[in-house]
Symmetry: C2
Subunit: 144 residues, 2 copies
Amino acid sequence: MELSNKTEIIGSMLLKENIKPSYARIRIMEYLLSRKSHPTVDEIYTALVKEIPTLSKTTVYNTLNLFVKSNIARVITIEENETRYDADMSCHGHFKCESCKAIRDFSFKCAAIDTSDLDGFLIREKNVYYYGLCPECLASESQD
Amino acid sequence: MELSNKTEIIGSMLLKENIKPSYARIRIMEYLLSRKSHPTVDEIYTALVKEIPTLSKTTVYNTLNLFVKSNIARVITIEENETRYDADMSCHGHFKCESCKAIRDFSFKCAAIDTSDLDGFLIREKNVYYYGLCPECLASESQD
DNA sequence: CATATAAACTGTATTGGTTACAATTCTATT
DNA sequence: AATAGAATTGTAACCAATACAGTTTATATG
């Protein structure tokens, strides 16, 4: 069956990182994986509290911090006031449309960035953020 | 003389953006340009209030927001809790050492990032953040 | 099965960076 | 000198994030 299968996959993913796969943790990771929108703590909490009435916002914070420390999620600081989270750990960039505020992924070749300036540095993580206008907002702006 | 020359250069830079070159604004921009450390609001305020006793933290916030809006400074969201500012508008990345917390610039070829995923998008700004360990911290860690 | 121990979760209080806003001071023009 | 407009100031408020202590849940052991 679909649900238990997904639960098992996420559960074993968490166990691999020595994280006890509690219900809240599984649901939070499932939510993260199912959204490419890189949700905020508030979005995650608001969505999940409908199905998990006892859920606390602190638990969402604790869980996400745990995921980040275990390298199965990462922080997206593309916005100045609010932190977003992403469970896609592959190399990709984030584009934020300054008009509609939507954030979308884009791929690029990580190795293509020449970092000879950082010879001798250990690079653990790369975050690439682009800002501008998406095609939809570009079109609607040119109509004004 | 040195100071008035610098003041004039920064003053004309501000005028070009239709920003009245007040004393506070000139000093804040001068501080930004002289530091490669990408200071926080608190650092700027603490440093300048010694010489400008009437300076208010709100003025630092207002001024930096004005600079960012006018595209003569940019926001660095390399840290989760605090915003940093950079007056170097050329294409470069920022590396943060997770051990000593130092932030340093590195250069890379902006055009080298293939963004075919973003065809049709208007890209206004690019921020590249790397995290890891600097050579000094790497050396001291391996001694443990 | 019951009990003990640790881990996970919860709710509230607190912190700290940032903004809102009204009052004050400064600047420029007549 | 007087006035208008802009810049600056200081306080209050906002809100994302964390600290913390109490509660619940899960696991292990007898």
